[in-house]
C-alpha cells in the first residue's frame, strides 16, 4: 500500500522525468519561436488571400495610336489568338475619354480634344495569368503592331511570382527556426541528462536497455515541442482577432485553425529531433554502452 502524498517516480521506460525550471524556459523559448513561425504563415495566408481577391479579376490593357485604325483589327485578332487570353474587348477613345472624365470627376477637359489624343485600348481578360510566357507573348504582339502594354498591370499580375519567392523565404525561415528550436530543446535535455547522469549510469549497470534509458527524454522532448506548439497556436488568436477587422477591409479572412495541426505536429517533431540529438551520445563512465 502506498501512503498518501507518496508518489513513486520510478525512472526509465515511459515515465517522464520531473518538469523543472529548465524545461519551462525551453517551453517559453520554443513557444515564441513557433509563434513567430505561425505569424509568418498567417501573414502568407493573408497575402495570398489579398492577392487572390483582385488577381481573379485582373485585366491587361494594350494601347495603340488611334491613327493606326487600319491595323487595330489585326492586333485585336492576334491578341485574341494568344492561348491564355480568354477575351479581348476593344475600348473606343470615346468610352475611354468618358471614363477618364468620370475618374477625374469633371476635370474640365474638352471631350472632343481628349478623344483625339487618347489611344485605342484593348482590354484583355486572362485565363491563366501564371502562365510562363503569357506576358511576353502579349508584349511581343503589341510591339509588332507598334502598340504598348500597360507594364504596371503586368507587374501586379505577376505578384504571385513574388509571393512564391516569399513563400520559399518563409519555408527557409521556418527551417532555420526549427533547427534553432531543436537545439534549444536538445540543450535543455542535455542539462537534464547531465543532472541525472548517476541515475542513467546506474540503470545501465543494472542492465537497462537503451530504449528504456532514452525513452523518457525522447518523450519529454516530444511533449515539450508539442506543448509549445499548442501554446503558440493559442497566442496566434490575439493577432487574428486584433487585425481581423483591418484584414476584412481587404477581403482577407484569416483562419488560424489551419495552423493548429502544423504547429502541434511541427513542435512535436522538432522536440523529438532535439531529444534524439541530446541522447545520441549519452555515454556512461565505466560502462561500455
Amino acid at each position: 500500500m502506498i501512503p498518501d502524498k507518496i508518489n513513486p517516480r520510478l525512472p526509465g521506460g515511459f515515465n517522464l522525468p520531473p518538469f523543472g525550471v529548465h524545461q519551462i524556459l525551453a517551453l517559453i523559448i520554443v513557444c515564441i519561436s513557433l509563434w513567430a513561425v505561425g505569424t509568418l504563415w498567417l501573414g502568407m495566408q493573408a497575402a495570398s488571400q489579398w492577392v487572390g481577391s483582385w488577381q481573379d479579376d485582373i485585366h491587361i490593357h494594350v494601347y495603340i495610336d488611334g491613327e493606326k485604325s487600319d491595323i487595330t483589327k489585326s492586333l485585336e485578332q492576334e491578341l485574341a489568338s494568344i492561348a491564355q487570353v480568354s477575351s479581348v474587348r476593344r475600348i473606343s477613345q470615346e468610352e475611354a475619354a468618358r471614363w477618364m472624365q468620370e475618374w477625374l470627376t469633371g476635370g474640365g477637359l474638352e471631350q472632343h480634344e481628349l478623344v483625339k489624343r487618347l489611344p485605342v485600348t484593348f482590354e484583355l481578360s486572362l485565363t491563366d495569368e501564371k502562365s510562363e510566357f503569357l506576358f511576353a507573348d502579349i508584349r511581343d504582339t503589341a510591339r509588332r503592331f507598334g502598340a504598348q502594354i500597360n507594364e504596371d498591370e503586368v507587374n501586379l499580375a505577376q505578384v504571385h511570382d513574388l509571393l512564391s519567392q516569399v513563400s520559399y523565404l518563409a519555408w527557409f525561415a521556418s527551417l532555420i527556426l526549427a533547427i534553432a528550436m531543436a537545439l534549444i530543446i536538445s540543450n535543455t535535455l542535455r542539462m537534464t541528462l547531465l543532472a541525472r547522469a548517476d541515475e542513467i549510469h546506474l540503470m545501465r549497470l543494472l542492465g537497462a536497455k537503451e530504449w528504456f534509458v532514452r525513452t523518457p527524454f525522447i518523450l519529454e522532448g516530444m511533449l515539450l515541442g508539442a506543448g509549445a506548439g499548442v501554446l503558440a497556436w493559442l497566442l496566434l488568436w490575439p493577432v487574428v482577432l486584433g487585425v481581423g477587422g483591418w484584414m476584412a477591409t481587404m477581403q482577407v479572412d484569416l483562419n488560424a485553425w489551419v495552423l493548429l495541426l502544423p504547429l502541434l505536429f511541427g513542435g512535436g517533431i522538432v522536440g523529438t529531433l532535439g531529444a534524439v540529438i541530446a541522447t545520441a551520445r549519452v555515454v556512461s563512465r565505466e560502462t561500455s554502452v
Binding site: 507518496i6 526509465g12 542492465g207 554502452v289
Partner: protein, 260 residues
C-alpha cells in the same frame, strides 16, 4: 523446497538452474554449472586501460557457484578492475573470461545486459540515488526488468524487511546512517534474486560493528545459494566471516586460499 528446472536448452551447454525457497522466504534462482563449467572462469586474463596502465595480468582463476570469495590486495592491485570486468564495465584486453556462461570478450551488448540483470552490485559509496526514496532505489533493478509498480511494492517491502529497514520504505537516503545506506544498497543488489553479488569494498566507510552486520547479510545470502565476490581491505573481517581469499598483487594472482 527444492524445484529443479532444466535450462540447458536455453543456454546451450550442460547446466541446470535451481530454485531454492530459503528460510527467509525468498526464492533464489541459482544457476548450477556442470562440473567442468565453473560460474566464473578466467584464463590468462589481462586488462590494459587505454591509458596504457595494465590493471590485470595473466590471471587464471575459477569461481564455483555458491562460493564466498574475498578479493584482497593493496590499492591498485586490480580488485575493482576485476569486479568491473565481471559485470561488463570493462572488457578483457586478452585472455579468457567466461561469466555465467558468457564469454565477456566477445559478448554483445544485450548479453552484457543479461549478465548485469543476473548480477547484484554493491559499491563502497553505495551509489544510492539521493533524489529518490528508499523504495525507488531498491525497486530500480526490478523496474529495469519491467516489473509494474503494484508488483514491486510487496517485493521491495520483503527485501527491506530482510535488511531491517521495512519502516524506512519512503525515507530518503540522506535521512539514513552510513550503515543503513549500505543495507539499502544490499537490498537493491539482492532484490532481483541475482546469481552473483559483486561487492566493491562495501564495508570501507563503515565502523567495525556496522561492517560486521553488513557482512552478516552477505554471508546469509551466500548460504542461500548466491555467489558473493567481495573486494575488501578489512582483513579482520575474515576471522569472523571465513571464505575463500583471492589475493592480488600488481594485477597478478598472489595467492588463493580456499578457506581462510
Amino acid at each position: 523446497m527444492l524445484m529443479y528446472c532444466l535450462s540447458a536448452a536455453s543456454v546451450g551447454i550442460q547446466s541446470f538452474c535451481l530454485h531454492v525457497v530459503t528460510f527467509t522466504g525468498f526464492e533464489v534462482t541459482v544457476f548450477r554449472m556442470s562440473s567442468e563449467q565453473p560460474l566464473i572462469h578466467m584464463q590468462r586474463l589481462m586488462l590494459r586501460y587505454p591509458t596504457g596502465k595494465t590493471a590485470l595480468s595473466g590471471l587464471t582463476l575459477d569461481i564455483e557457484q555458491g562460493q564466498f570469495v574475498y578479493l584482497v590486495g593493496e590499492s591498485g592491485a586490480g580488485k575493482s578492475s576485476l569486479l568491473k570486468m565481471l559485470y561488463g564495465g570493462v572488457r578483457p584486453s586478452s585472455g579468457l573470461l567466461v561469466t555465467q556462461q558468457i564469454d565477456m570478450r566477445d559478448a554483445s551488448e544485450s548479453r552484457i545486459r543479461d549478465i548485469r540483470r543476473r548480477t547484484g552490485i554493491i559499491f563502497q559509496d553505495h551509489k544510492l540515488l539521493f533524489s529518490r526514496c528508499v523504495f525507488e532505489n531498491v525497486a530500480l533493478p526490478l523496474r529495469v526488468q519491467g516489473w509494474k509498480t503494484e508488483r514491486l511494492i510487496p517485493r521491495v517491502r520483503k527485501v527491506l524487511q530482510y535488511v531491517g529497514l521495512e519502516d524506512r520504505l519512503w525515507s530518503y537516503p540522506e535521512a539514513l546512517s552510513g550503515g543503513e545506506q549500505q543495507r539499502v544498497a544490499i537490498a537493491r543488489a539482492m532484490t532481483a534474486n541475482p546469481a552473483v553479488i559483486l561487492a566493491d569494498e562495501p564495508t570501507g566507510n563503515l565502523d567495525v560493528e556496522t561492517a560486521r552486520s553488513v557482512l552478516d547479510y552477505l554471508m546469509d545470502l551466500n548460504k542461500q545459494g548466491t555467489t558473493v565476490i567481495m573486494a575488501t581491505h578489512d582483513l579482520h573481517l575474515l576471522k569472523s566471516h571465513p571464505g575463500r581469499v583471492v589475493q592480488l598483487h600488481a594485477g597478478s594472482l598472489a595467492g588463493d586460499y580456499s578457506e581462510y
